[in-house]
């Protein structure tokens, strides 16, 4: 087999500028447009409803729900035909029987031709707590990874890996903001998994960089990173492909509830794979990592 040698390092600068723009763009989006929080984080009520009557359409449902005086109501199709998701913010606390009342009024209005498949009601206090614990989870996992990487590698590598992961989280969230993608609890799980995956990918390349730094004392880091990326490239591709295959399967066949989660993961895997090549490595180059860097650490 011939030795693969794709000059990844030629494009370091260009892609870094692109990433910088993407991060900036994402931060602007996140600051000014914000994220579209779902019921979990904003509070309110979500009802997944299946109608048993094919003639009933979405505007009928909208009309019925707007009569119920629930404030801002959104009605959307959800997965299959005849399935709808209705969301509204209820300002007061949840009364014990307000779901029951909705059912009664709805069947008076359009007839008893629906089935409530799922109801989620989250009070304002709980949603605040969920949001807080979601943010804590993401920050904590970034912190824990930083510590782990710090112990295992030199600080230059930790900085590279953490920057790459930070890049992934910001860009993924920016993308969600751009697409007005709904953020719920499972998205936090997806983001954390992305953090793990991206770190995983970066660590594999970094391990090779260290090994090559020891092996070749006369090659500059600029070249070393490129050699290492090429040597680990087939693994990077294969693992991304198998992971994406699994995720695509969830996305297509896993039902409407897992759609958001798997979409977020797919996005994250792609961004994570990119960043471990084009964010993590250029930082090593910029920090002028050399054989001395790792040897110094080992002497101490």
């Amino acid at each position: 087999m011939e030795k693969r040698n794709i000059p990844f390092n030629k494009f370091y600068k260009r892609f870094n500028i692109m990433s910088l723009f993407l991060i900036l763009f994402s931060l602007i989006l996140l600051t000014f447009k914000g994220l579209n929080y779902g019921v979990d984080f904003k509070g309110g009520t979500l009802i997944e409803l299946r109608t048993l009557d094919n003639t009933l359409n979405i505007s009928d449902l909208r009309k019925s729900f707007s009569k119920l005086n629930l404030g801002d109501v959104t009605v959307k199709e959800f997965g299959k035909e005849n399935d709808y998701v209705i969301k509204f913010e209820k300002k007061q606390s949840i009364e014990e029987n307000f779901i029951e009342n909705i059912k009664i009024e709805l069947s008076n209005d359009i007839g008893n031709i629906f089935e409530f498949r799922r109801v989620e009601s989250v009070g304002p206090k709980v949603s605040d707590e969920l949001l807080k614990s979601g943010i804590i989870a993401i920050v904590l996992s970034l912190g824990a990874m930083l510590i782990y990487i710090w112990i295992r590698f030199e600080w230059q590598f930790s900085l590279g890996a953490i920057t790459a992961v930070f890049h992934d989280v910001v860009i993924t969230l920016g993308f969600f903001s751009l697409l007005n993608f709904e953020i719920n609890l499972s998205i936090v799980a997806a983001v954390l998994t992305i953090v793990g995956y991206s770190m995983n990918d970066t660590v594999v390349i970094f391990d090779r960089v260290r090994e090559n730094l020891k092996k070749y004392s006369d090659i500059k880091i600029f070249e070393i990173t490129n050699i290492s990326i090429n040597e680990t490239l087939s693994r990077t591709i294969i693992t991304s492909v198998t992971t994406l295959l699994a995720l695509l399967s969830i996305f297509i066949f896993g039902g409407a509830i897992l759609k958001g989660f798997s979409f977020a993961m797919i996005l994250g895997v792609i961004v994570g794979t990119y960043s471990s090549i084009y964010i993590a490595n250029p930082i090593l180059v910029r920090l002028n990592v050399s054989q001395k860097t790792i040897l110094k650490e080992e002497k101490v």
Binding site: V122, G123, A189, V203, D207, I238, L247
Partner: protein
């Protein structure tokens, strides 16, 4: 790395077989408690309701302060200490005024570790109440406020009472295997698997069920004071604040059809004390109207025709059979110490649950098939070994979840599928390394060996990072998301086991047999 001792092979095999057995035990029935284990399905898969209730402790705090205020008054009077101007401020503090010269004595009575009136909690190193004094001219103003731990104590005691009542109410309805747990010190989590419609249970849990019998008064100059209360239909009546009898004295309550009036009523039986009180009140009150009040609303206020001495009676009202049944249930199970609110509800119908299971299994099968196919195309015979590893991995993963009777949720299934996708990573890392080693090493066995050795730290590093993410998610996540973290985390462990014990064993056997083949991998 390619050498395996016989003992190791056997123990790996036995371990794998035992764990895999538990996977299979999900699908068959075994008459043995030890072996008949099943994965629990989360509420999102089997359908059911998740309710988070929050206790509003404010009324309890006010009640406690009022009680403390009267006992303080009595306490100081007994000790001949002049104390005046007792009042409760902002529903959270007691304040009163004492003479300056008795300050030292009062403070020592209130802040001594042996204090009778302000108990000291050894465990928390704090009193029930924090004491503050401020000088006002020649007297001193003392304020008592619940200390942090005093408040914790109060909250957890009302939580303990409330959870007991909640348990009784849920049991009375008779849902299968409810799960009732404390959350924090003022919340109660109720999980009701398989419950299709939680509306009834919600309305039952939302009621404090504070029942009192009090006279309706016509003149407003009652010595206990009076208040205006409403009937269900909105009309009002003036009710004495004197409580004749409360729900605490009830020992039983049942819905019944009254033969004479053809109405649904709730009959009740009183304990001895209650029967005596009730007899006395109804004897002296013949001709008066006795209001039956539930949670501040008048159910009915019948005329007392004759004294009721038998310790049993009935509540009439505008009942349907259902509402009478519910009222009887509430009265039997007792009153909550404080009102509760439902602050989070998640209900999944059985139809959606089954759909989610089907979708989850379908995507697992397809995802699995795609990965398996890809590996065979890419690595041929070693792809096959990786796939055998993958199957073992799945058997181990599900087996371990079954062994610990863990709860499988829809995101949990997603975690399993993701594990399938990421599990091959370790084998890929090894194989790619071996491919490199083979270029510079003519001895195939040595090449394979160093492939395994050199990829080891990378594989560990890579998996530990994902494990960290899973661990944090497991600790901080809630409900279904916790299920995802669980399968992802356990998946990493089973992956490492199956890669280093199962796959390596097969690889070793194959390589030793075919070491002279030209193109081995």
């Amino acid at each position: 790395m390619l050498y395996f001792s016989k003992l190791k092979i056997i123990s790996v095999l036995i371990f794998t077989l035992i764990i895999s057995f538990f996977t299979i035990s999900n699908f068959i029935n075994i008459d043995n408690k030890l072996f008949n284990r099943n994965i629990n399905l989360g509420l999102d898969l089997q359908g059911g309701s998740y309710l988070l209730l929050e206790i509003d402790n404010k009324p309890v705090v006010i009640q406690k302060l009022q009680n403390k205020l009267s006992s303080l008054k009595k306490f100081f009077a007994d000790k001949d200490i002049r104390s005046t101007n007792f009042k409760i401020i902002d529903d959270e503090k007691i304040s009163f005024v004492i003479d300056e010269d008795s300050l030292d004595k009062v403070l020592s009575l209130l802040t001594d570790k042996e204090s009778e009136i302000n108990p000291y909690f050894q465990r928390f190193k704090t009193h029930e109440f924090d004491v503050k004094e401020t000088k006002v001219l020649s007297s001193t103003n003392i304020t008592l406020e619940f200390s942090d731990y005093g408040l914790v104590q109060l909250k957890s005691s009302s939580q303990n009472q409330a959870i007991e009542i909640v348990r009784r109410r849920v049991d009375e309805i008779g849902t299968n295997e409810p799960n009732i747990l404390k959350r924090g010190n003022d919340r109660i989590l109720v999980e009701l698997p398989g419950l299709e419609n939680p509306d009834r249970i919600k309305s039952l849990l939302g009621k404090t069920a504070n029942l009192t019998f009090r006279f309706v008064t016509l003149n407003e100059e009652e010595s206990f004071g009076t208040e205006k209360l409403l009937y269900e239909d909105g009309s009002e009546a003036i009710i004495s604040k004197r409580i004749i009898l409360s729900g605490d004295n009830l020992v039983d309550a049942q819905p019944r059809m009254d033969n004479q009036s053809n109405q649904t009523v709730v009959t009740f039986t009183l304990d001895r004390v209650g029967a005596k009180k009730f007899a006395r009140a109804t004897s002296s009150g013949v001709g008066k109207r006795l209001a039956i009040i539930l949670d501040g609303k008048i159910i009915s206020a019948p005329n007392i025709v004759e004294p009721i001495v038998g310790g049993a009676g009935q509540i009439t009202g505008d009942f349907t059979f259902q509402s009478a049944t519910d009222l009887a249930l509430l009265l039997r199970s007792g009153a909550l110490p404080a009102p509760m609110k439902i602050i989070e509800e998640r209900t999944v119908g059985p139809g959606l649950g089954q759909d989610s299971i089907n979708a989850g299994i379908l995507s697992l099968i397809i995802g699995f098939a795609l990965v398996v196919l890809f590996m065979i195309v890419k690595y041929k015979i070693f792809g096959l070994i990786a796939n055998v590893t993958l199957i073992t991995n799945l058997l181990l993963l599900i087996g371990i979840l079954t062994l610990f009777e863990a709860t499988l949720t829809l995101p949990g299934i997603a975690g399993i599928i993701l594990t399938v996708g990421m599990a091959v990573d370790a084998n890929v890392l090894i194989y790619e390394r071996i491919k490199e080693e083979i270029k510079s090493e003519s001895n195939k066995i040595v090449a394979f060996d160093s492939g395994y050795v050199k990829s080891k730290t990378t594989i560990l590093d890579a998996n530990i990072t994902t494990l960290i993410a899973a661990l944090i998610l497991f600790i901080l996540g809630s409900g279904p998301v916790k299920g995802f973290a669980l399968t992802l985390g356990v998946g990493i462990l089973t992956t490492l086991f199956s890669v280093y014990f199962i796959a390596r064993l097969f690889t070793a056997l194959y390589v030793i047999k075919n070491k002279d083949k030209e193109k081995l991998i």
